[in-house]
């Protein structure tokens, strides 16, 4: 398992990719600093707005998409997956190692800059904690979904961006029962609830907001295992 994890991790750490996504993280910090430097009447609400609109809606899903869709998708496309697949290793171990590698890279790239951005707004420790929790939950959920997507389709980045913009963006804003099917609905709820403000973002209970994204990740992971066991390998 450790050997698999090491291998997946080595394919994830690509300087150009890290630099590009690091720049998006830096932008989050700069936006947070801009909020902090302004004369906001309610810095907590402003901070929640920033983390929700930029962090949870764009930065987290896009960053996670880049890493997670590549972790199994790239080896599958370039033909190196065969060197891992054709071994006496349970398929769930392959998927677990891939998820762990994707999370190892995604979590610091996402959570650290967003937490710094939250701190830079000057809204206090509550927002920093809420940001860390909600962005971690979002990263876990999206990692599961996009790892499956990377194995399932070619051009997973395009499909993933479509999902983020159309499904998460459109459905999450539509409200009602449909919004329960968007990860963003739950992570925003968690953010607002833990931070203790912006009640208009709280659409589900605390338990639901944590459980459903985790369930989505688990189901996606199970589908990835099934896919890996059944699909053709180049």
């Amino acid at each position: 398992m450790r050997a698999l994890y090491r291998t997946f991790l080595s394919t994830q750490v690509i300087t150009g990719r890290l630099a590009g996504l690091g720049a998006l993280g830096l932008l989050a910090v700069l936006l947070g600093a801009a909020v902090g430097a302004g004369q906001a009447t309610d810095p907590l609400d402003e901070g929640i707005g920033l983390v929700s609109a930029y962090g949870l809606s764009l930065f987290v899903p896009v960053t996670t998409l880049v890493f997670a869709s590549a972790v199994l998708g790239e080896p599958e496309e370039d033909g190196t997956l065969v060197y891992l697949w054709l071994r006496p290793v349970a398929r769930w171990r392959l998927v677990a190692a891939a998820l762990a590698a994707a999370l190892t890279v995604s979590l610091p790239v996402v959570v650290v800059p967003l937490a710094l951005a939250a701190a830079a707004t000057g809204a206090g420790a509550a927002l920093v904690g809420a940001t860390a929790w909600s962005s971690t939950l979002a990263t876990v959920a999206y990692t599961g979904l996009f790892t499956w997507l990377g194995l399932r389709v070619r051009r997973a980045l395009v499909w993933g961006l479509g999902y983020i913009l159309v499904w998460e963006g459109f459905v999450a804003r539509a409200g009602g029962t449909a919004s329960l099917l968007a990860v963003r609905t739950h992570t925003r709820s968690l953010l607002a609830r833990v931070a203790g403000s912006a009640p208009e973002l709280v659409e589900v209970s605390l338990a639901t907001s944590v459980a459903l994204p985790l369930l989505a990740a688990a189901v996606a992971a199970a589908l990835t295992v099934r896919r890996l066991a059944r699909q053709d390998v180049a």
Partner: protein, 311 residues
């Protein structure tokens, strides 16, 4: 060790393998065929990398699609060139050894690399390796766990003659040890050097099967078509017909004659006397169907004309 029974594989409308049956035991067996004949698909079916559309594949008594535990006993050199580019050869082969659960994975990897004459201490990433070195790394990762069955898809591609000889010797030795070594190739002379049993594939079908020398004889005895350049095509054609060594003659252009013969050796002996008798200058003699594709096409035709021919 390998049983393939009435197996077909199609991808959409494209039939890659059609109703193929064969069995392979210990020793070296060569899977010969031109590019696109379906060799790689057969090897992928044997390794469980793709599922048969029809028929059954059993490898070491197991279904390769269902039981990953079979991979303990199987090593594959895939055709694709991609490797994990950022790591060294030793790390790559060690990874394979670790995934097979070998104790002393690093030592086993170093030994496998030495077997293919690569330096285990070479710290360069694989991205910097030549094609021949990459081929040998692929062989090392397939050998590291000493599998009973070794499946090699064009393993000699990109190797220099000395390395080819070394790997051919290695594969023969593994075969003599009782392992099953299945090697694909589209190079006839390469297969000859394995000195092995041969499966010939063409157009997705098994065209012939058996000892290499019997197959070679079958190939040599097929009809041949040749083009002759001469200053008196009509006269030379008549003389060749009179010699009885050709079954068809036609003038295909100015100063150009095409002949069909069933006996290449007799024709070669007869052509110069026929030219002399016709007072024709023989300027050129070109076989029109001596490429492998033609040979394989003929074998497929022979197999369909007479079931079991060449088998």
């Amino acid at each position: 060790m390998i049983e393939v029974e009435r197996t077909s594989k199609w991808f959409g409308d494209v039939v890659a393998v059609s109703d193929v049956s064969f069995a392979v035991g210990p020793g070296v067996t060569a899977l010969l065929g031109p590019n696109g004949a379906g060799k790689s698909t057969v090897l992928r079916l044997l390794c469980g990398l793709t599922r048969p559309s029809q028929g059954a594949v059993r490898v070491l008594g197991q279904d390769p699609r269902r039981d990953p535990d079979l991979f303990r006993r199987l090593g594959l050199v895939p055709q694709q060139e991609a490797l994990f580019e950022g790591i060294a050869a030793l790390a790559f082969v060690t990874l394979a050894a670790e995934l097979h659960g070998l104790a002393g994975a690093r030592t086993a990897a170093a030994r496998a690399l030495a077997q293919v004459e690569l330096d285990p201490d070479d710290r360069r990433p694989l991205a910097g390796y030549s094609k021949g070195m990459r081929q040998r790394v692929k062989v090392a990762q397939a050998l590291v766990h000493e599998p009973e069955l070794l499946v090699l898809d064009e393993p000699l591609d990109g190797l220099d003659p000395r390395q080819r000889l070394h790997l051919i010797t290695l594969f023969r030795r593994l075969g003599e040890e009782g392992r099953c070594v299945l090697v694909s190739s589209h190079v006839l002379d390469e297969v000859e050097r394995f000195g092995s049993r041969v499966l010939v594939m063409a157009q997705g079908r098994l065209a012939a099967e058996g000892d290499f020398h019997a197959i070679r004889e079958l190939m040599d005895n097929r009809p041949h078509r040749l083009r002759l350049a001469t200053d008196r095509p009509h006269q030379l054609g008549a003389a060749l017909l009179a010699s009885g060594t050709v079954v068809g003659v036609w003038v295909s252009g100015p100063g150009e004659l095409v002949v069909d013969t069933l006996d290449g050796a007799a024709f070669r002996l007869a052509v110069a006397p026929a030219a002399r008798a016709a007072e024709a200058r023989l300027l050129e003699l070109v076989p029109l169907d001596d490429d492998l594709e033609s040979v394989f096409r003929y074998l497929v035709g022979a197999a369909s004309r007479s079931p079991g021919a060449g088998r």
